[in-house]
Amino acid sequence: MSHHTKDMVRVTDATERLAHWLLAGSCLVCLISGLGIMFQSWDIIATVMGGLYATKWIHTFSGVVFAFSLIYAFFMWRKDCAFEADDAKWIAKGGGYLWETSDLPPVYKYNAGQKLFFWFVVIFGILIIASGLVMWLWNPETFSPAVARWAYALHALSALVIGSFFVVHLYLGTIGNPGTATAMFTGWCSRAWCETHCPRWLEERDKKA
C-alpha cells in the first residue's frame, strides 16, 4: 500500500470489506430478482436472468449467501454498532445532515445513523431469512398454510425496509459523503475524513500507534 501517504488512515480490513461486499452484492441480487418476481410487469428482469424459474433459484441462493454474510457481519460489527448514550443526541441533531448544528457528540467508529442501519438490516435481515426459509421449504405437512402466507407478507415487509435503507446507504456511502466510498474499496480514508466521521476512534488509534 505504498501509494497511501501519511495523510491516509486505514479504516477497514480486508475481512470487513469482503463481508461487506458479499452482504451488499447478495442483497442487491436478491432485491433485483425479488422485484422481478413480485412485479409481473417487470418480467424483463426475469427474462434477463433466464426465466422466472431460474430467477427463483438465483433469488434463493443469493439469499443463502446473504444469510451467511449477515451472520458474519453481525458478529464482526455488533460491538462497533452497540448504542451509547450520545447516540440519542446525535440523532436529535439529525447527525448534522439535515440542518446546521454545532457540537455534535463525537463519534467513535460508527455514527448513530450507521448503527441504526446496521440494526435494521440485522433485525429485518433475520426476518427476511426466516420467512424466506419458510417460503422455500414449506409444504402443507411442515407448516400450516397460515404460517406460510404470513411468511410471504413478512418477507415483502422486510424487503421494503431493507430496500429503502439500501438506497439511503448507497447515497450516504458515496456522493452524499465524499471520501467515504474508499473505506469499502481500498480500505483507506483521509485523516480529515476520519476527523469528521470517527474522531474518537482516530484519537484512540493515534494513541496506540
Binding site: 422466472l52 398454510p145 430496500g163
Partner: protein, 263 residues
C-alpha cells in the same frame, strides 16, 4: 371482458356419491390414479391430490336431534371471482378466463406454492416431481369448444349442472324453495362470488373442509395491496429525498482540522 360468465352448480341434495365425476375428471384430464388404502370409508383418496382435482367427501353427520345423515360433497376448485391464488401468483400461471373461471398454466408455474398458502378453500396441490401446482380448471379446453366439463357430463342424477351465472344462481335458489327452504346456497356471497356454487343440504358449518366465511386472507391483502406497492414507493421516496438532499443541503463535506474542535 368476460364473454359469458358461467357457474357450475353442485346440488348436494341430488348427489348419490357415485363418484362418476371423480372418474370422468381423471379420464378427461389424463390424471393417473394413486395407490390408496382402505381406511373404512368410501371416500377415496382421502384428500385432493395433484392428480385428483375433484373428489366426493363422505361425512357421517349426526344432527342435534340425534338423526343420522350421510353427507356427500363434491370438493374441488371454487373458481373465485376474486381469487387469492391469482392475486399471489407471481408468474401468471393462475389467471382468469373469459368464463370467469381460474385457469392454471403449468408451463408458467415456478412452483413457489404461494397459491397453496393463500387459497381459502385449500385447493391447489403441489407435485414435487414436476415442481408445479395442479387444480381443477373446470375443463377449460372443453368450455372453449362449447362442451360441458367432464364431471358435469358424467353426472347421472343432475346434481351437477353448468350454465350462465345468473341462471344458475336462480336455479340454486329455486331448488332451495323446492326443498321448503331446508337447504342452503353457498358460493354467491363471498370472494365476489364463486363460479362453483353449492346447494348444501346442511348449513355450511356442518361440512368438513368447507370454510363458513371464505375470504382473501388478511396477510395476502397486506402483502399485495400494501407492502408490494410500498416497496417501490419506499425506495423511490428515499431516492428522491437523497436527490433533494444532494441538491438543497449538498453533500456532507469533510471538515478541516481547525474546525473540528468538538472534543
Amino acid at each position: 371482458m368476460k364473454k359469458s360468465e358461467i357457474v357450475k352448480l353442485i346440488d348436494t341434495t341430488r348427489c348419490t356419491a357415485c363418484r362418476g365425476c371423480q372418474v370422468a375428471c381423471k379420464q378427461w384430464n389424463e390424471l393417473p390414479a394413486s395407490k390408496t388404502r382402505n381406511v373404512g370409508s368410501y371416500q377415496n383418496p382421502q384428500d385432493l391430490e395433484w392428480n385428483t382435482w375433484t373428489l366426493i367427501r363422505f361425512q357421517e353427520h349426526q344432527d342435534t336431534d340425534g338423526s343420522f345423515q350421510w353427507l356427500f360433497r363434491k370438493d374441488g376448485c371454487m373458481h373465485c371471482t376474486d381469487a387469492a391464488c391469482v392475486r399471489v401468483c407471481p408468474s401468471g400461471a393462475l389467471s382468469y378466463t373469459e368464463f370467469g373461471t381460474v385457469a392454471v398454466d403449468q408451463d408458467r408455474c415456478i412452483g413457489c406454492k404461494a397459491c397453496i398458502s393463500a387459497c381459502p378453500f385449500d385447493i391447489p396441490r403441489y407435485n414435487a416431481e414436476t415442481e408445479k401446482i395442479y387444480k381443477c380448471d373446470l375443463c377449460l379446453n372443453r368450455l372453449k369448444e362449447n362442451q360441458i366439463p367432464a364431471c358435469v357430463l358424467s353426472c347421472p342424477t343432475g346434481a351437477l349442472s353448468i350454465g350462465k351465472r345468473e341462471e344458475m344462481i336462480e336455479k340454486a335458489y329455486k331448488r332451495v324453495e323446492e326443498l321448503d327452504g331446508k337447504a342452503y346456497v353457498y358460493g354467491d356471497k363471498f370472494v365476489k362470488g364463486t363460479h362453483v356454487i353449492y346447494v348444501l343440504q346442511k348449513d355450511a358449518k356442518v361440512y368438513d373442509e368447507l370454510p363458513v366465511n371464505p375470504r382473501i386472507p388478511a396477510s395476502v391483502v397486506l402483502w399485495k395491496n400494501l407492502f408490494k406497492p410500498f416497496t417501490l414507493i419506499g425506495m423511490g421516496a428515499v431516492a428522491g429525498m437523497a436527490a433533494l438532499h444532494y441538491l438543497i443541503k449538498g453533500p456532507h463535506e469533510v471538515h478541516e482540522k481547525d474546525q473540528e474542535g468538538g472534543e
